[in-house]
């Protein structure tokens, strides 16, 4: 099988065996843990910088502007690193009336939720950090820690803007979590597994969105809408509607403290897109078209992580496109959209997918 060229797990096993042979196992595990931790931090920072730069360029293109173009040569490539340095040198203001413990705890929860889900993404064959047989379920569970951080941030700051921003955001995120859960469930019915690697490997001869035809495409659209709301972006960013709420739940955070929320927001965008890629667009699986063996062979030579990152950035672009195209919704419109349209629709899609699967109507 071609795909095994890029399988990382034998290599990782060999490294582990080698380390265990030259040092005690606990030391080997500590060393591996350190490497994994540094890898996560580096990926996290690099992806955040790329995503913020991409967002600024894409939004500029949609609004007929140029975007960042001064710092670091022609394209403004060093604009975001410069912003990161700037945010590090900003004063962190300590509030007088806030609940200090919860105020300090909130960024931890937000970052924890996003790093836990981030490390479940299947980068390559054998290349995910947390591998477990209930993978996608764990992702759903871990991602809902984030809303706790948002609610705590808003409540503990003791300001009216943050309170309204937090409850709006909380109501919206928990509502859209249902649609996300149901569309993920649809794809679990489709692939018959919760293990992320098994879901990806089940798409070897056709991605789920092609195999599951109508219900899969509908679930994909529902997932994109709900995922956009989950990441607090796009037409659903009423929690931080600048005109009415200044910055929503993180109004009272300053400097790097605010930076964590900003970082988590962009990484959540990437994670949403990554999970969509895994479930619907085949994760690291190359594009295979039945009958075109020559094409399939060429596609197999492209490594898995290139496919994964490429597809994920395609979906990130779609989500940015949505964000900069649609006007912001009101809270009642947001909740109506979820509870009266998306939620019944995703239940119907789930039943439709089960019918297709049970009677063998999928490809």
């Amino acid at each position: 099988m071609f795909l095994d060229y890029y399988n990382l797990s034998p290599l990782l096993m060999q490294i582990h065996a080698f380390l265990c042979s030259v040092m005690p196992e606990w030391l080997a595990l500590t060393l591996e843990g350190l490497v994994v931790g540094v890898f996560i931090l580096v990926m996290y920072a690099v992806l955040a910088i790329i995503l913020i730069y991409m967002e600024r360029k894409v939004c500029a293109a949609f609004q007929c502007r140029i975007g960042p173009n001064r710092v670091g040569g022609k394209g403004g490539l060093l604009q975001v690193p410069a912003d990161v340095l700037k945010i590090l040198t900003k004063e962190i203001i300590s509030l007088k009336h806030s609940d200090h413990f919860l105020y300090a705890l909130a960024p931890f929860l937000v970052i924890l939720a996003s790093i836990l889900t981030f490390s479940c993404l299947p980068w390559n064959k054998g290349g995910e950090i947390l591998h477990m047989n209930i993978g996608i379920f764990f992702v759903l569970a871990a991602s809902s820690i984030g809303v706790l951080g948002i609610l705590l941030a808003g409540w503990s700051s003791n300001s009216k803007y943050t309170l309204i921003g937090a409850v709006r955001s909380g109501a919206m995120i928990i509502s859209y979590e249902l649609s996300i859960g149901l569309s993920v469930l649809t794809m679990v019915v489709m692939s018959g597994a919760m293990d992320i690697q098994t879901i990806v490997e089940g798409q070897a001869n056709g991605w789920n969105i092609f195999k599951g035809h109508i219900p899969a495409i509908m679930a994909f659209i529902i997932y994109l809408i709900a995922g956009n709301a989950e990441a607090n972006r796009g037409p659903f960013d009423l929690a931080e509607a600048e005109q009415e709420l200044t910055a929503g739940y993180h109004t009272e955070y300053s400097g790097m403290h605010f930076g964590f929320f900003y970082l988590a927001e962009y990484l959540n965008l990437f994670i949403t897109a990554g999970i969509a890629t895994t479930l619907f667009l085949g994760g690291w699986m190359p594009l295979h078209i039945a009958g075109l063996d020559g094409l399939n062979m060429v596609m197999d030579y492209i490594p898995g992580f290139v496919w994964f990152i490429g597809k994920t950035f395609f979906i990130v672009f779609l989500l940015m496109w949505i964000r900069w195209t649609f006007p912001r919704l009101r809270i009642d419109q947001v909740l109506t959209l979820e509870w009266k349209y998306l939620m019944p629709l995703s239940l119907v899609v789930l039943l439709l997918m089960t019918v297709c699967k049970v009677f063998g109507l999928t490809f």
């Binding site: 970052i111 591998h131 300001s159 979590e177 679990v188 939620m343």
Partner: protein, 116 residues
């Protein structure tokens, strides 16, 4: 192996926040001003506490969310084996969903989904 890595990931998250906060505290300037600690409300002094009783509409949606989220949790084990069990899985989950959809319809009819 798995538990090692989940601890590593959790520690990474904590280290990221602590390290970035430490760097920021070392680099950032500090100045004291009694106005700075006040809640930001566009320069106008704030009135009273912000820890107040709040609109019940949000609470209602949280209750509804609880019902459907637990339903999703119950459906996950079913979803894994739905294909192997076949028509029986479809029928049984059909009953389960009908009950839930009736619940949603009841909430809808009672006006719990209206934003007032």
């Amino acid at each position: 192996m798995f538990f090692t890595f989940i601890i590593v990931v959790i520690l990474t998250a904590i280290v990221l926040v602590v390290a970035a906060m430490t760097i920021a505290k070392l680099l950032a300037p500090r100045s004291f001003n009694p106005q700075k600690g006040e809640p930001y409300e566009c320069g106008i002094p704030t009135r009273g506490q912000s820890w107040v009783q709040f609109k019940a509409g949000y609470y209602l949606f949280a209750i509804l969310f609880l019902m459907f989220d637990i339903e999703t949790v119950f459906l996950f084990p079913w979803a894994v084996v739905a294909d192997q069990v076949g028509v029986y899985a479809l029928v049984s989950v059909g009953f389960f969903l009908v009950v839930l959809i009736l619940g949603l319809a009841y909430a809808w009819r009672k006006g719990a989904l209206e934003w007032k």
